[in-house]
Protein backbone atom coordinates (compact mmCIF):
# COMPACT_ATOMS: atom_id res chain seq x y z
CA UNK A 1 0.00 0.00 0.00
CA UNK A 2 1.49 3.38 -0.96
CA UNK A 3 2.37 5.86 1.76
CA UNK A 4 -0.25 8.40 2.83
CA UNK A 5 0.50 12.08 3.44
CA UNK A 6 1.60 11.50 7.00
CA UNK A 7 3.82 8.56 6.09
CA UNK A 8 5.45 10.66 3.36
CA UNK A 9 6.03 13.43 5.89
CA UNK A 10 7.45 10.95 8.39
CA UNK A 11 9.81 9.58 5.73
CA UNK A 12 10.89 13.12 4.82
CA UNK A 13 11.61 13.82 8.48
CA UNK A 14 14.20 11.03 8.40
CA UNK A 15 16.22 13.26 6.05
CA UNK A 16 16.76 15.78 8.81
CA UNK A 17 19.73 15.60 11.12
CA UNK A 18 20.44 17.10 14.49
CA UNK A 19 21.45 20.76 14.31
CA UNK A 20 20.01 21.43 10.86
CA UNK A 21 18.35 24.67 9.80
CA UNK A 22 15.47 23.72 7.52
CA UNK A 23 12.81 25.37 5.40
CA UNK A 24 9.50 23.54 4.97
CA UNK A 25 7.17 24.38 2.10
CA UNK A 26 3.39 24.49 2.15
CA UNK A 27 1.27 21.29 2.10
CA UNK A 28 2.74 17.91 3.00
CA UNK A 29 6.14 19.50 3.85
CA UNK A 30 4.47 21.42 6.69
CA UNK A 31 3.52 18.08 8.27
CA UNK A 32 7.20 17.09 8.47
CA UNK A 33 7.52 19.23 11.61
CA UNK A 34 5.29 16.72 13.40
CA UNK A 35 7.81 13.91 12.88
CA UNK A 36 11.21 15.39 13.80
CA UNK A 37 10.98 13.89 17.29
CA UNK A 38 13.96 14.64 19.54
CA UNK A 39 16.12 16.05 16.77
CA UNK A 40 17.31 19.61 17.27
CA UNK A 41 15.89 21.14 14.10
CA UNK A 42 15.46 24.91 13.58
CA UNK A 43 12.76 25.88 11.11
CA UNK A 44 13.18 28.96 8.98
CA UNK A 45 10.25 31.00 7.77
CA UNK A 46 11.53 32.98 4.80
CA UNK A 47 9.55 36.09 5.67
CA UNK A 48 12.16 36.69 8.35
CA UNK A 49 12.37 34.19 11.21
CA UNK A 50 14.46 31.30 12.47
CA UNK A 51 13.00 29.07 15.13
CA UNK A 52 9.38 28.85 14.03
CA UNK A 53 7.06 27.51 16.71
CA UNK A 54 3.61 25.87 16.46
CA UNK A 55 0.30 27.62 15.85
CA UNK A 56 -0.79 29.84 18.77
CA UNK A 57 -3.52 28.88 21.20
CA UNK A 58 -6.86 30.35 20.30
CA UNK A 59 -7.01 34.00 21.31
CA UNK A 60 -3.21 34.35 21.35
CA UNK A 61 -2.73 35.08 17.64
CA UNK A 62 -0.36 37.96 16.93
CA UNK A 63 -0.81 39.74 13.57
CA UNK A 64 2.91 40.63 13.66
CA UNK A 65 3.89 36.96 13.81
CA UNK A 66 3.12 34.92 10.71
CA UNK A 67 4.90 32.35 8.59
CA UNK A 68 5.56 32.38 4.85
CA UNK A 69 2.13 30.85 4.32
CA UNK A 70 0.67 33.90 6.14
CA UNK A 71 -0.53 31.67 9.01
CA UNK A 72 -0.32 32.86 12.60
CA UNK A 73 2.49 31.08 14.46
CA UNK A 74 4.52 31.38 17.68
CA UNK A 75 8.15 31.87 18.67
CA UNK A 76 10.53 29.63 20.60
CA UNK A 77 13.39 30.31 23.00
CA UNK A 78 15.86 30.09 20.09
CA UNK A 79 13.92 32.42 17.78
CA UNK A 80 15.46 35.36 15.93
CA UNK A 81 13.82 37.82 13.53
CA UNK A 82 15.42 39.61 10.59
CA UNK A 83 14.46 41.41 7.40
CA UNK A 84 13.68 39.80 4.03
CA UNK A 85 17.04 40.74 2.46
CA UNK A 86 18.89 39.01 5.31
CA UNK A 87 16.50 36.06 5.18
CA UNK A 88 17.12 35.39 1.52
CA UNK A 89 20.81 36.14 2.00
CA UNK A 90 20.98 33.09 4.25
CA UNK A 91 18.91 31.06 1.77
CA UNK A 92 20.93 32.09 -1.29
CA UNK A 93 24.18 31.77 0.64
CA UNK A 94 23.59 28.10 1.36
CA UNK A 95 23.17 28.51 5.13
CA UNK A 96 19.87 26.56 5.15
CA UNK A 97 20.83 22.89 5.13
CA UNK A 98 17.68 21.56 3.51
CA UNK A 99 14.37 22.57 2.00
CA UNK A 100 11.46 20.17 1.80
CA UNK A 101 9.05 21.31 -0.89
CA UNK A 102 6.01 20.18 -2.81
CA UNK A 103 6.08 19.89 -6.60
CA UNK A 104 3.87 19.66 -9.66
CA UNK A 105 6.59 17.96 -11.73
CA UNK A 106 10.18 16.80 -11.25
CA UNK A 107 12.51 15.69 -14.05
CA UNK A 108 15.22 13.06 -14.08
CA UNK A 109 17.79 15.86 -14.19
CA UNK A 110 16.45 17.38 -11.00
CA UNK A 111 14.45 20.13 -12.67
CA UNK A 112 11.54 21.27 -10.53
CA UNK A 113 8.23 22.84 -11.55
CA UNK A 114 5.97 24.00 -8.75
CA UNK A 115 4.90 27.57 -9.32
CA UNK A 116 2.88 28.03 -12.48
CA UNK A 117 0.40 26.39 -14.81
CA UNK A 118 0.19 28.47 -18.00
CA UNK A 119 -3.35 29.44 -18.91
CA UNK A 120 -4.46 29.02 -15.32
CA UNK A 121 -4.23 31.55 -12.54
CA UNK A 122 -0.67 32.68 -12.02
CA UNK A 123 0.04 33.43 -8.39
CA UNK A 124 3.81 33.84 -8.44
CA UNK A 125 6.88 31.96 -7.30
CA UNK A 126 7.18 33.62 -3.90
CA UNK A 127 10.42 32.40 -2.38
CA UNK A 128 10.50 29.00 -4.13
CA UNK A 129 13.05 29.93 -6.81
CA UNK A 130 15.43 31.34 -4.20
CA UNK A 131 15.05 28.28 -2.01
CA UNK A 132 15.77 25.71 -4.71
CA UNK A 133 18.72 27.74 -5.99
CA UNK A 134 20.27 28.33 -2.60
CA UNK A 135 19.69 25.69 0.04
CA UNK A 136 22.11 22.84 0.59
CA UNK A 137 19.74 20.00 -0.21
CA UNK A 138 16.36 20.12 -1.96
CA UNK A 139 13.95 17.33 -1.11
CA UNK A 140 10.67 17.11 -2.96
CA UNK A 141 7.64 15.47 -1.38
CA UNK A 142 4.65 14.83 -3.66
CA UNK A 143 2.29 12.22 -5.02
CA UNK A 144 3.95 10.13 -7.71
CA UNK A 145 1.11 10.70 -10.17
CA UNK A 146 -1.53 13.36 -10.75
CA UNK A 147 -5.27 12.90 -10.41
CA UNK A 148 -5.42 11.59 -13.97
CA UNK A 149 -2.87 8.90 -13.04
CA UNK A 150 -0.10 10.48 -15.14
CA UNK A 151 3.45 10.43 -13.83
CA UNK A 152 4.77 13.61 -12.18
CA UNK A 153 8.29 12.13 -12.30
CA UNK A 154 9.27 12.96 -15.86
CA UNK A 155 12.07 12.84 -18.41
CA UNK A 156 11.60 16.59 -18.77
CA UNK A 157 9.20 18.97 -17.08
CA UNK A 158 6.38 20.34 -19.21
CA UNK A 159 5.55 23.26 -16.90
CA UNK A 160 7.67 26.41 -16.43
CA UNK A 161 10.58 25.61 -14.13
CA UNK A 162 11.16 26.79 -10.59
CA UNK A 163 14.77 25.67 -10.88
CA UNK A 164 17.00 23.67 -13.19
CA UNK A 165 18.92 20.67 -11.83
CA UNK A 166 18.12 21.60 -8.24
CA UNK A 167 16.37 18.54 -6.74
CA UNK A 168 18.46 16.06 -4.76
CA UNK A 169 15.85 13.59 -3.55
CA UNK A 170 12.20 12.83 -4.38
CA UNK A 171 9.87 11.31 -1.79
CA UNK A 172 6.51 10.17 -3.16
CA UNK A 173 3.70 7.92 -2.05
CA UNK A 174 5.49 5.09 -3.89
CA UNK A 175 9.02 5.50 -2.55
CA UNK A 176 12.23 7.48 -2.52
CA UNK A 177 14.35 8.38 -5.57
CA UNK A 178 17.66 10.19 -5.88
CA UNK A 179 18.72 12.36 -8.79
CA UNK A 180 22.01 10.84 -10.06
CA UNK A 181 23.98 11.08 -13.29
CA UNK A 182 21.86 9.59 -16.06
CA UNK A 183 18.54 9.58 -14.27
CA UNK A 184 16.92 8.58 -11.01
CA UNK A 185 18.05 5.88 -8.62
CA UNK A 186 15.56 4.03 -6.44
CA UNK A 187 16.54 4.46 -2.79
CA UNK A 188 13.52 2.91 -1.15
CA UNK A 189 10.11 1.49 -1.98
CA UNK A 190 7.07 2.38 0.07
CA UNK A 191 5.77 -0.52 2.16
CA UNK A 192 4.07 -3.00 -0.15
CA UNK A 193 4.98 -1.16 -3.34
CA UNK A 194 6.94 -3.21 -5.86
CA UNK A 195 9.75 -1.91 -8.01
CA UNK A 196 7.60 -2.70 -11.05
CA UNK A 197 4.76 -0.54 -9.72
CA UNK A 198 7.13 2.35 -9.10
CA UNK A 199 8.75 1.98 -12.52
CA UNK A 200 5.34 1.84 -14.20
CA UNK A 201 4.31 5.09 -12.52
CA UNK A 202 7.57 6.82 -13.48
CA UNK A 203 8.18 8.42 -16.87
CA UNK A 204 11.74 9.40 -15.99
CA UNK A 205 14.75 7.17 -16.65
CA UNK A 206 15.54 4.94 -13.71
CA UNK A 207 19.17 3.86 -13.51
CA UNK A 208 20.86 0.90 -11.80
Amino acid sequence: MPWDRNQMAARAAEELEDGMYVNLGIGIPTLVANYVGDKDITLQSENGMLGMGPFPFEGEEDPDLINAGKQTITELSRTSYFDSATSFGMIRGGKIAAAILGAMEVSEEGDLANWMIPGKLVKGMGGAMDLVAGVGRVIVVMDHTNKAGESKVLRACTLPLTGKAVVDRIITNLGVLDVVPGGLRIVQLADGVTEEELRAATEATIVA
Binding site: E46, A133, L161
Partner: protein, 234 residues
Protein backbone atom coordinates in the same frame (compact mmCIF):
# COMPACT_ATOMS: atom_id res chain seq x y z
CA UNK B 1 14.94 69.23 10.83
CA UNK B 2 11.47 68.12 11.75
CA UNK B 3 10.59 64.62 10.56
CA UNK B 4 7.35 64.09 12.48
CA UNK B 5 4.14 64.89 10.61
CA UNK B 6 0.59 65.05 11.98
CA UNK B 7 -1.15 62.90 9.37
CA UNK B 8 -0.39 60.50 6.55
CA UNK B 9 -1.74 63.03 4.07
CA UNK B 10 0.60 65.73 5.40
CA UNK B 11 3.53 63.33 5.32
CA UNK B 12 2.98 62.58 1.63
CA UNK B 13 2.35 66.21 0.69
CA UNK B 14 4.63 67.33 -2.14
CA UNK B 15 6.07 63.87 -2.71
CA UNK B 16 3.52 62.46 -5.16
CA UNK B 17 3.22 62.59 -8.94
CA UNK B 18 1.44 60.47 -11.52
CA UNK B 19 3.58 57.72 -13.00
CA UNK B 20 5.88 57.55 -9.98
CA UNK B 21 7.67 54.47 -8.63
CA UNK B 22 6.91 53.47 -5.04
CA UNK B 23 8.52 50.73 -2.96
CA UNK B 24 6.32 49.39 -0.15
CA UNK B 25 7.21 47.29 2.88
CA UNK B 26 5.20 44.39 4.22
CA UNK B 27 4.65 40.68 3.62
CA UNK B 28 1.08 39.64 2.99
CA UNK B 29 -0.90 41.92 5.31
CA UNK B 30 1.85 41.82 7.96
CA UNK B 31 3.80 45.03 8.49
CA UNK B 32 2.13 46.94 5.68
CA UNK B 33 1.90 50.76 5.69
CA UNK B 34 -1.88 50.82 6.02
CA UNK B 35 -2.21 54.51 6.77
CA UNK B 36 0.03 55.67 3.94
CA UNK B 37 -1.80 53.39 1.49
CA UNK B 38 -5.08 55.00 2.55
CA UNK B 39 -3.51 58.43 2.01
CA UNK B 40 -2.36 57.37 -1.47
CA UNK B 41 -5.96 56.40 -2.24
CA UNK B 42 -7.16 59.80 -1.06
CA UNK B 43 -4.47 61.62 -3.04
CA UNK B 44 -5.72 60.21 -6.34
CA UNK B 45 -2.14 59.84 -7.64
CA UNK B 46 -2.22 57.39 -10.55
CA UNK B 47 -0.24 55.28 -13.03
CA UNK B 48 1.81 54.01 -10.12
CA UNK B 49 4.52 51.37 -10.39
CA UNK B 50 4.76 49.62 -7.02
CA UNK B 51 7.46 47.23 -5.87
CA UNK B 52 5.96 45.18 -3.04
CA UNK B 53 6.17 41.48 -2.31
CA UNK B 54 2.37 41.19 -2.47
CA UNK B 55 -0.52 43.40 -3.49
CA UNK B 56 -2.72 43.13 -0.41
CA UNK B 57 -6.09 41.42 -0.60
CA UNK B 58 -9.36 42.53 -2.11
CA UNK B 59 -10.29 45.78 -0.39
CA UNK B 60 -7.34 45.92 2.04
CA UNK B 61 -3.72 47.03 1.87
CA UNK B 62 -2.47 47.70 -1.66
CA UNK B 63 -5.67 46.03 -2.87
CA UNK B 64 -7.37 49.38 -2.22
CA UNK B 65 -5.22 51.00 -4.89
CA UNK B 66 -6.31 48.30 -7.32
CA UNK B 67 -9.98 49.06 -6.69
CA UNK B 68 -9.34 52.69 -7.59
CA UNK B 69 -7.20 51.74 -10.64
CA UNK B 70 -4.27 53.81 -9.40
CA UNK B 71 -1.69 51.08 -10.09
CA UNK B 72 -0.25 50.62 -13.57
CA UNK B 73 2.38 48.01 -12.72
CA UNK B 74 3.32 45.73 -9.84
CA UNK B 75 6.74 44.21 -9.13
CA UNK B 76 5.96 41.30 -6.79
CA UNK B 77 6.75 37.70 -5.98
CA UNK B 78 3.26 36.49 -5.08
CA UNK B 79 -0.17 37.93 -5.87
CA UNK B 80 -2.38 34.95 -5.21
CA UNK B 81 -4.64 36.48 -2.57
CA UNK B 82 -6.41 38.98 -4.76
CA UNK B 83 -9.23 38.36 -7.25
CA UNK B 84 -9.36 41.97 -8.46
CA UNK B 85 -5.62 41.80 -9.21
CA UNK B 86 -6.15 38.76 -11.42
CA UNK B 87 -9.07 40.37 -13.19
CA UNK B 88 -7.10 43.51 -14.04
CA UNK B 89 -4.03 41.52 -14.98
CA UNK B 90 -5.83 39.07 -17.26
CA UNK B 91 -7.72 41.92 -18.93
CA UNK B 92 -4.44 43.73 -19.63
CA UNK B 93 -5.25 46.73 -17.42
CA UNK B 94 -2.43 45.95 -15.02
CA UNK B 95 1.19 45.13 -15.78
CA UNK B 96 3.00 42.57 -13.62
CA UNK B 97 6.69 41.83 -13.24
CA UNK B 98 7.33 38.71 -11.18
CA UNK B 99 10.51 38.76 -9.12
CA UNK B 100 11.59 35.84 -6.95
CA UNK B 101 11.06 36.97 -3.35
CA UNK B 102 14.75 37.02 -2.44
CA UNK B 103 15.68 38.74 -5.67
CA UNK B 104 13.12 41.45 -4.96
CA UNK B 105 14.43 41.98 -1.42
CA UNK B 106 18.03 42.07 -2.63
CA UNK B 107 17.20 44.43 -5.50
CA UNK B 108 15.78 46.89 -2.95
CA UNK B 109 18.72 46.51 -0.59
CA UNK B 110 21.17 46.89 -3.52
CA UNK B 111 19.47 50.01 -4.87
CA UNK B 112 19.71 51.60 -1.44
CA UNK B 113 23.36 50.56 -1.10
CA UNK B 114 24.55 52.05 -4.40
CA UNK B 115 24.81 48.68 -6.14
CA UNK B 116 23.27 48.92 -9.62
CA UNK B 117 23.57 45.20 -10.34
CA UNK B 118 24.43 41.87 -8.72
CA UNK B 119 24.60 38.26 -9.80
CA UNK B 120 22.41 35.50 -8.40
CA UNK B 121 21.73 31.82 -9.02
CA UNK B 122 18.04 32.36 -8.35
CA UNK B 123 16.02 31.85 -11.52
CA UNK B 124 18.84 30.51 -13.71
CA UNK B 125 17.28 28.28 -16.36
CA UNK B 126 13.76 29.63 -15.74
CA UNK B 127 11.59 32.33 -17.36
CA UNK B 128 13.07 34.77 -14.83
CA UNK B 129 16.41 34.54 -16.64
CA UNK B 130 14.96 35.51 -20.03
CA UNK B 131 16.63 38.61 -21.43
CA UNK B 132 19.08 38.85 -18.53
CA UNK B 133 22.84 38.70 -18.78
CA UNK B 134 24.32 35.34 -17.72
CA UNK B 135 27.83 35.20 -16.29
CA UNK B 136 29.82 32.21 -15.14
CA UNK B 137 31.66 32.39 -11.82
CA UNK B 138 33.74 29.37 -10.78
CA UNK B 139 31.99 27.17 -13.31
CA UNK B 140 28.46 28.04 -12.27
CA UNK B 141 25.96 30.28 -14.11
CA UNK B 142 24.43 33.34 -12.51
CA UNK B 143 22.09 36.03 -13.84
CA UNK B 144 22.46 39.78 -13.48
CA UNK B 145 19.72 41.49 -11.49
CA UNK B 146 19.40 45.27 -11.13
CA UNK B 147 19.23 47.38 -7.98
CA UNK B 148 15.95 49.24 -7.51
CA UNK B 149 15.78 52.93 -6.65
CA UNK B 150 12.26 54.17 -5.96
CA UNK B 151 10.93 57.74 -6.00
CA UNK B 152 9.27 57.05 -2.67
CA UNK B 153 9.31 54.30 -0.04
CA UNK B 154 6.41 53.71 2.32
CA UNK B 155 7.05 51.50 5.34
CA UNK B 156 5.52 50.45 8.63
CA UNK B 157 7.49 50.10 11.87
CA UNK B 158 6.60 49.49 15.49
CA UNK B 159 8.39 52.43 17.14
CA UNK B 160 10.34 55.47 16.00
CA UNK B 161 12.13 58.30 17.71
CA UNK B 162 11.81 61.80 16.27
CA UNK B 163 15.10 61.42 14.36
CA UNK B 164 13.58 58.56 12.37
CA UNK B 165 15.36 55.66 14.04
CA UNK B 166 13.03 52.67 13.62
CA UNK B 167 12.34 49.46 15.51
CA UNK B 168 10.22 46.68 14.05
CA UNK B 169 8.31 43.89 15.76
CA UNK B 170 8.62 40.14 14.98
CA UNK B 171 7.91 39.12 11.36
CA UNK B 172 6.41 42.53 10.61
CA UNK B 173 9.98 43.63 9.85
CA UNK B 174 10.16 41.65 6.55
CA UNK B 175 10.54 43.94 3.49
CA UNK B 176 10.34 47.20 5.44
CA UNK B 177 14.08 47.85 5.92
CA UNK B 178 15.10 47.07 2.31
CA UNK B 179 12.10 49.01 0.97
CA UNK B 180 13.07 52.01 3.13
CA UNK B 181 16.66 51.84 1.92
CA UNK B 182 15.81 51.99 -1.77
CA UNK B 183 13.67 55.13 -1.69
CA UNK B 184 14.97 58.57 -2.61
CA UNK B 185 12.49 59.66 0.06
CA UNK B 186 11.09 57.35 2.72
CA UNK B 187 7.96 57.92 4.80
CA UNK B 188 7.38 55.65 7.78
CA UNK B 189 4.23 55.06 9.82
CA UNK B 190 4.63 53.72 13.33
CA UNK B 191 2.50 52.68 16.26
CA UNK B 192 4.39 54.89 18.67
CA UNK B 193 6.84 57.79 18.44
CA UNK B 194 9.06 57.75 21.51
CA UNK B 195 11.36 60.49 22.84
CA UNK B 196 14.87 60.71 21.46
CA UNK B 197 17.20 58.61 23.57
CA UNK B 198 14.60 56.08 24.66
CA UNK B 199 15.58 53.54 21.98
CA UNK B 200 18.78 51.63 22.75
CA UNK B 201 21.29 52.71 20.03
CA UNK B 202 22.49 49.11 19.77
CA UNK B 203 18.99 47.87 19.04
CA UNK B 204 17.79 50.17 16.27
CA UNK B 205 16.82 48.14 13.22
CA UNK B 206 16.86 50.97 10.71
CA UNK B 207 18.87 54.17 11.34
CA UNK B 208 17.06 57.48 10.88
CA UNK B 209 19.21 58.42 7.91
CA UNK B 210 16.91 56.25 5.79
CA UNK B 211 13.71 57.84 7.09
CA UNK B 212 12.64 61.33 6.04
CA UNK B 213 9.13 61.67 7.41
CA UNK B 214 7.26 59.86 10.19
CA UNK B 215 3.67 59.60 11.33
CA UNK B 216 2.12 57.87 14.30
CA UNK B 217 -1.25 56.19 13.99
CA UNK B 218 -3.36 53.21 14.89
CA UNK B 219 -3.32 50.12 12.71
CA UNK B 220 -5.96 47.54 11.94
CA UNK B 221 -3.27 44.83 11.44
CA UNK B 222 -5.63 42.37 9.79
CA UNK B 223 -4.76 38.66 10.02
CA UNK B 224 -4.85 36.81 6.69
CA UNK B 225 -4.78 33.16 7.88
CA UNK B 226 -5.86 32.77 11.48
CA UNK B 227 -4.43 29.39 12.46
CA UNK B 228 -4.57 28.14 16.04
CA UNK B 229 -4.27 25.00 18.10
CA UNK B 230 -6.36 23.84 21.00
CA UNK B 231 -5.04 23.84 24.51
CA UNK B 232 -4.68 20.24 25.59
CA UNK B 233 -6.97 19.53 28.47
CA UNK B 234 -5.48 17.67 31.39
Amino acid sequence: MKKVYATADAALDGLLHDGMFIAAGGFGLCGIPELLIDALVRSGVKDLTIASNNCGVDGFGLGKLLDTRQIRKMISSYVGENAEFMRQYLSGELELEFNPQGTLAERMRAGGAGIPGFYTKTGVGTVIAEGKEVKTFDGQDYILERGIVADLSIVKAWKADDTGNLVFRKTARNFNPPAAMCGRVCVAEVEEIVPRGSLDPDLIHLPGIYVHRIIQGSHEKRIEQRTTRKKETA
